[in-house]
């Protein structure tokens, strides 16, 4: 596997995770687009970054699926579109989270297996 393939693999893994992270953040509180992007970057210490050119269309897609709902609000004299998670989004997130836990533990078992075990 050369560099390019590894990069593609990393990007694909991250892409799926980012959707879950967005739902996770919005399950705690409502946020606007840029805030979501900054929070993900901050919480992952810069490991997970989402390009703005990808974030906003992604938010629109999640909104289209009914997982989140956007609403324009004026906070501190600034009009911004805040997103909040819907009940359907919470259900999807719960499923994602349990799947992720299972997957990560199984994958860890496989990847971290030591010789002789």
């Amino acid at each position: 596997m050369d560099d390019v393939d590894i990069d593609t693999w990393k990007t694909e893994i991250k892409r799926g995770i980012v959707e879950m992270c967005i739902l996770a953040l919005l399950s705690k509180k409502e946020m606007y687009g840029y805030e979501i992007s900054k929070t993900i970057k901050q919480l992952s210490s810069g490991f997970l970054t989402i390009e703005e050119g990808t974030l906003y269309p992604l938010l629109r897609r999640l909104e289209g699926k009914g997982y989140i709902r956007g609403e324009w609000k004026i906070v501190h004299d600034k009009a911004r579109k805040y997103y909040k998670i819907t009940s359907l989004g919470l259900q999807v997130f719960a499923e994602m989270r349990s799947f992720w836990k299972k997957l990560s533990s199984i994958v860890n078992n496989i990847v971290e297996v030591k010789e002789g075990e």
Partner: protein
């Protein structure tokens, strides 16, 4: 670098994004992007042109950004914008080369088979096969260009196309990587923006043609303009000779064409001098002007025997242009030259059409690409 200029820059970028968005979501998306750009620019140190450029660079090409909302979104819709992206261009060239080679081989076989079975004297028929070949190649290239433009405009289609190429073992890794590297270098090492004396140099990046900065027009344009005017006058003078209607029609078109070229050259010179930007539109219009000759060429292709030539009898020693008017004798085209004349006419028709279409495609293609170019140039 005022806030007003930065806002103008944002407006122009968002207008471009809006152009490619479905109407029902356009306003909302643009409003959200606007708040994002302003927020981020403020975080970078204020609403300046430089900061706004950085934010826009991260957002990327407006067309590509808009396409992400359309393709794979709620509203699955095929986007079409003329122009092939950098990573697909090597494939386009490769496909075109192969197709052209096959077409040429096919038609060559047809010509050989015709020469073998048909009459050797049927030069015109062979010329027609040749013209048919050129026309086929033209349409194939145009068709492929449009097809690849559709693939370029839709990220999902593009991904699918690249995957198919990879699976078939036809991946052009070297060229694609080189194109990617070029882009990365442009992003990684942005040109330093130091002091810019005039506002237009900043805003110039918004013009469709990025390499248009500080362009100084050549005085050659004025010279060319006067030469064209002089030639138009000479052609018009020739038209007083007793030519038939077909040839008079040609001479009038030619002199009108030369006058228009002269006017465009002159306008181009002053435009470029005033705006300090190269006028690509003028180049395009000049190429398209060739279409003026098409009606005459089509008539001449049918009534080729009506074409007249002007010759000087050998007993006169011609010293200049006016001797041509005085001693010139008008003759009709000799019979044995008719097939050759027809070939030349057909080739001229094809050349004019191809040249005009290429000029238009080039002009149209440059516009949507420009954004990414000058964003990277900041």
């Amino acid at each position: 670098m005022s806030e007003k200029e930065a806002m103008e820059l944002i407006d122009e970028y968002l207008d471009e994004v809006k152009r490619y968005l479905p109407e029902d979501i356009a306003e909302d998306v643009v409003a959200e992007l606007r708040t994002h750009i302003i927020d981020k620019a403020m975080e970078l140190g204020g609403l300046t042109v430089r900061n706004v450029y950085r934010v826009l660079r991260d957002l990327g090409d407006p067309r590509e950004l808009a396409s992400k909302y359309v393709v794979g979104g709620k509203k699955e819709k095929l986007v079409f914008e003329l122009g092939i992206s950098d990573d697909l261009y090597p494939y386009f060239i490769k496909i075109v080369s192969w197709v052209v080679i096959f077409v040429i081989i096919g038609y060559t076989l047809k010509i050989i088979s015709y020469a073998y079975h048909g009459s050797a004297a049927a030069l015109l028929d062979v010329a027609m096969i040749f013209a048919e070949m050129l026309l086929s190649i033209t349409f194939i290239i145009l068709g492929l260009y449009v097809l690849m433009s559709i693939v370029s405009s839709n990220p999902d289609l593009k991904k699918g196309f690249l995957k198919i190429m990879k699976d078939l073992g036809l991946e052009i890794r070297r060229e694609v990587e080189r194109a990617k590297k070029r882009t990365e270098v442009r992003i990684a090492k942005p040109r330093e923006v130091t002091e810019r004396p005039k506002r237009f140099e900043e805003i110039e990046y918004l013009q469709p043609f990025p390499r248009a900065i500080a362009y100084s027009p050549s005085i050659l344009l004025v010279f060319k303009s006067f030469v064209a005017l002089f030639m138009a006058y000479m052609v018009f003078m020739v038209s007083i000779l007793p030519f038939n209607q077909l040839m008079k029609f040609f001479l009038y078109i030619l002199s009108t064409y030369l006058i228009l070229i002269a006017v465009i050259d002159l306008v181009e010179y002053f435009y470029e001098k005033y705006t300090e930007t190269r006028s690509y539109l003028a180049d395009t219009v000049k190429s398209v002007l060739g279409f003026m000759f098409l009606p005459w060429l089509l008539i001449a292709a049918i009534f080729t025997e009506q074409i007249q030539l002007i010759i000087i009898p050998t007993e006169y020693l011609v010293k200049g242009y006016f001797d041509l008017l005085r001693y010139g004798v008008i003759i009709t085209i000799p019979q044995e030259y008719l097939p050759l004349a027809k070939i030349i006419i057909i080739v001229a028709i094809i050349a004019i059409i191809v040249d005009g279409l290429i000029a238009i495609l080039k002009y149209v293609r440059t516009a949507p690409k420009a954004w990414s170019d000058h964003l990277y140039a900041v």
